[in-house]
Symmetry: C2
Subunit: 161 residues, 2 copies
């Protein structure tokens, strides 16, 4: 994880991709979103989705999984260079989440995160606030998922400047 | 599920509650959000959350689960009355999701959904667009989670008017 001081508007991270298999789609749906078009191929085909479709919360949760893995990768790289690791604060939420196109069984979704805004926190000078647009794109290059996340990111302590 | 014509601003549904046990929190985290404060009590206590905390995506997914169960309950009631069931369209997304307070192991969160706006779709006269504020409140009455969902809801066909 990076420090606020190392983050700039426009920075983009490719987070990796995930294949939404029928099994993965149904497994999530059984736990959290048991609607027919998330549980059964035929019901999916008959629905507006046109096929067995992943729950939108599944798409978001997979994006979270890849964001966490990317953060852990960055932390390991920083450790390997002998650098201090930034511990990010909890996310207060996000804005403007869009499920733009269905994610159907067999689709491979590639996720990315791009910094949209950075500003120091007024109340807590040791923190900065970063907004990043997280997106998912399918194997045909179509944007299927997008949300604007907000994170509290620590600033480097004066001692390490 | 109700038809657009039956939905009015201010209508509120209590969706039921869910106990976020340590096991449920860790099980979700292992699958989708393996950050330390979601996986381990001691790490949670040391974090800004102050305890083993549920992933925000877990809280959202549980809210989805209860929304679906509520819709299925409404559909069964309508069927029992011999009424037609409205089949809602896919959600295009939502706005303004807030994780207001941590959800910690043992917390019971009660979810509710309240209609904030209704309008006919301009492009598709057979559909209306409903915005509902979905919320989660803990056992101390504190609002912990909130988002504004958008749904396409069918209008009654002229034949059934």
């Amino acid at each position: 994880m990076r420090f606020f001081d190392d983050i700039a508007i426009g920075q983009r991270r490719e987070l990796g991709s995930f294949i939404f298999t029928a099994d993965a789609i149904k497994n999530f749906a059984r736990q959290f979103d048991p609607q027919r078009f998330h549980l059964d191929e035929e019901e999916g085909r008959k629905s507006l989705f046109g096929g067995l479709a992943a729950s939108g919360w599944h798409v978001g949760s997979v994006c979270m999984k890849l964001l966490v893995a990317d953060g852990q990768r960055l932390a390991k790289e920083a450790l390997a260079r002998g650098e201090e690791i930034a511990v990010w604060g909890p996310s207060p939420g996000f804005r403007d989440l869009r499920w733009i196109k269905p994610v159907l069984a067999g689709d491979t979704i590639s996720f990315a995160s791009e910094v949209e805004s950075v500003r120091p926190s007024e109340k807590r000078p040791e923190w900065g606030i970063v907004q990043a647009r997280n997106t998912g794109t399918n194997q045909r290059g179509e944007l299927v998922f997008s949300f604007l996340a907000t994170a509290f990111v620590p600033r480097r302590t004066p001692a390490s400047d």
